[in-house]
Symmetry: C2
């Protein structure tokens, strides 16, 4: 089971594929977890991966299909007729996975595939699930769940659970509904095992069940499950009817993706790239940010050349151009990312925007004072190239203004974006950072020109 997937293992697989030794290949492969099979396939050449995959059947084939990268799956399914997709793959999947895969097909092909599905209930579930926005609770949930009626006793429940669980991998919670299928509560398997068979479940199920509506955004789903340490979350419609459940493994993926999105933004990468991606994909993900940086650099050149009077008055100002630019950008990113992280972790928000800006002003004044004092001290003592005190005062005062301004700007922008329902992480990205750099430079040049 827990085979080490190393170079030797991959080489062995490659050799067996070259020899077309299907029997031995299958012997090795079927013992692997589907995730590991997908990982092996990723290290193989396209044709070899496909050869290996086509040896698989039934549950295993569809489990692996879900784990391979979306692009590869799309390419593979595009070549297959709807009937094969339906009967050899979709029918073996849980509804949530099936809907993810169907969502990657063109719309007309989706309908064609669903038409070929023999189990009518399953087909109906898929059609309904496809109507939800894929980033909503309804779009993530699976229709598979175990539900019992509030009027049943333990024995009936156990029998019903055994029947319903036929198609379900794991039962985490048994949901309790009324005659109209409205969610009433949750029943633990533990209690079912512990209580006498004639007990009416009305007396033992928990009524304080946490649920979410189908229209909730996926971030809200993740936040709720994380906050309350839930393994599964029941999804209801606006009238309270039980429609599906979301399991924690999907939420772990959401948390990871959200965190990665923010991380990519602040480190200047567009989209999801990894070391293993192609040179072309990595280049494509990196160039946009750098082009914005390039434009910012050119604008910086304009700011300096347009304010040459400052440099004529205090030539040694050029020494501290890198310092002012870097500090403006850094302070802005710090401020914005604290806001972004607070919003992402869903910290309860009982404070107004102006309250937050006021607190940030406090932080900014302290930080700016410390930094400006240090650089003033340095310049007064060191006197770069026999600079007069006007350089010291110009650098120090500029730094103070730049730090305070970039702090407030960096705090306000993400809060404002969030209020406008735009991703606040944008504020940590290239636009705002570059803008802070340039504005910092402008402040420096203007102060050098007109003050001291």
């Amino acid at each position: 089971m827990q085979v080490q997937i190393n170079k030797e293992f991959i080489d062995k697989i490659k050799l067996l594929i070259d020899e077309k030794n299907d029997r031995q290949l299958l012997d090795i492969i079927v013992d692997l977890h589907p995730v590991d099979i997908a990982e092996v396939m990723e290290t193989l050449a396209m044709d070899d991966a496909k050869y290996l995959y086509l040896l698989l059947e039934g549950d295993l084939a569809s489990d692996v299909l879900i784990e391979i990268p979306e692009d590869d799956r799309k390419r593979f399914l595009a070549e297959l007729p709807a009937e094969v997709i339906a009967r050899q793959y979709i029918e073996y999947m849980d509804t949530d996975d099936a809907v993810d895969v169907l969502g990657e097909l063109p719309e007309d092909k989706q309908e064609e595939v669903i038409a070929y599905i023999d189990d009518q209930d399953y087909a109906d579930d898929l059609s309904e699930l496809l109507t939800y926005d894929e980033d909503s609770a309804g779009g993530i949930m699976a229709a598979e769940l175990v539900a019992v009626n509030e009027n049943w006793n333990v024995q009936t429940c156990l029998k019903e659970i055994g029947r319903q669980a036929e198609d379900i991998d794991e039962i985490y919670y048994v949901y309790v509904v009324d005659d109209q299928n409205k969610l009433k509560g949750v029943l633990s398997l533990k209690k079912l095992i512990q209580y006498p068979t004639q007990t009416n479940i009305n007396n033992i199920y928990a009524r304080d069940v946490i649920s979410i509506v189908t229209t909730a955004e996926r971030e809200e789903v993740a936040h709720k499950m994380e906050k309350y340490d839930l393994v599964a979350l029941p999804v209801v419609d606006t009238e309270g009817h039980l429609k599906g459940r979301i399991t924690i493994d999907d939420v772990v993926d959401i948390i990871r993706e959200e965190a990665e999105k923010d991380y990519q933004m602040v480190s200047g990468i567009t989209g999801d790239v990894e070391l293993t991606d192609s040179v072309f994909s990595i280049t494509k993900a990196r160039l946009p940010w750098l082009l914005i940086g390039l434009v910012g650099g050119i604008m910086g050149a304009f700011v300096i050349s347009g304010n040459e009077h400052a440099l004529e008055r205090i030539p040694n100002m050029i020494f501290f151009i890198p310092l002012i630019g870097a500090m403006a950008g850094n302070v802005g990113v710090q401020s914005s990312s604290i806001v972004v992280q607070s919003l992402a972790s869903g910290t309860q928000n009982l404070q107004s925007i102006s309250g937050k800006l006021l607190k940030e002003l406090g932080v900014a004044l302290i930080v700016a004072f410390v930094l400006a004092s240090l650089i003033l001290l340095f310049n007064l003592i060191f006197k770069f190239g026999n600079s007069g005190t006007e350089l010291a005062y110009t650098v120090s005062f500029s730094l103070f203004v730049v730090v305070v301004f970039a702090s407030l700007f960096g705090t306000f922008i993400p809060l404002f974006l969030n209020k406008m329902k735009i991703d606040p992480a944008l504020a940590t990205g290239p636009f705002i950072t570059t803008m802070n750099d340039i504005l910092g430079l402008l402040v420096y040049m203007l102060i050098g020109q007109f003050l001291f």
Copy 2:
């Protein structure tokens, strides 16, 4: 249950605390989830929060204690005698939570508390769990689990599970062990319900159980559970004896924390701060990075003043100082963060360091060529302040060299740190970024001085 915690609710709580209306306070509070009670407490003044908390008892009191911030909990427990901590709080907790709380006490007090615990098995479990490194699988796991012997039948198992589950909130998996308590497999509750009571479980349990050793690092735990979509992971010692289990809710916290650590590093914040923290904490988290940036800026000043010959030859070079500095830093952060993210997501690593550097060289050459060409074109056409072609060539060639160098440096450093078992995210932090800035500036000045 799902009360809206808004300003009105908090005001009502405050009023009731002022009136010392304990009965009505309790009525409201006991309906809340422990996480929500902790959240309410965080919005109250210290004394009010304590007053509210001391109304709680038993399970609820210990559940809330786990949810409040570590600093508050430490302060609260420091005032209590060991006997009270043991009998009123620790005894109500699961072993993993109890160990977390005990770990925050001084060592002599830990032993004192454990000595007061009446349930000897539970006390022994705690003593053993405390011996593990808190960042290892052993340090995160709980001793509570449900295990059955491989030789039992379904009926015996059901009876035993009912007994063992007494102290456990949720059963996700039933583990199967041999007479020596060695982990053999896993049994789903579903199967126990579906099969006749006389079935020997030897015929129905799954042998391919994924487990982890007590000494594994917590990142490895998180990676394994995430990769294989596990809700609980059994922990074994090096001989394979079943020691405990780790549940997904703990792992979600680990994933979140790891992502936040990386994010804080790249955005220049030390430690975990949020908007709701005090002005002092936020300032403390931000100043270190900025001080490094300040030193970097001063070093930049030295680099420029030490190479003034370049500026005497080509005075207009100063216009592009911000561009070179910014691009060096950005390219470096991009490269490093791609490595950091790849390492964090645990992408299988079948490529050597030199292979990765070679690929990065490909990306770097393309990116550098595009950027250098664009700035060359711009400078040749625009001719800033009647600059000659030497400015155009100097800027362009410098940018090319700086981009290639920063890319390779940015890729190598985190890979190297990782190999040395140091957190690779350090490479995205202030030191390396500042170093890239300064080296970029140096390259620019040297090229301006000696080439073209």
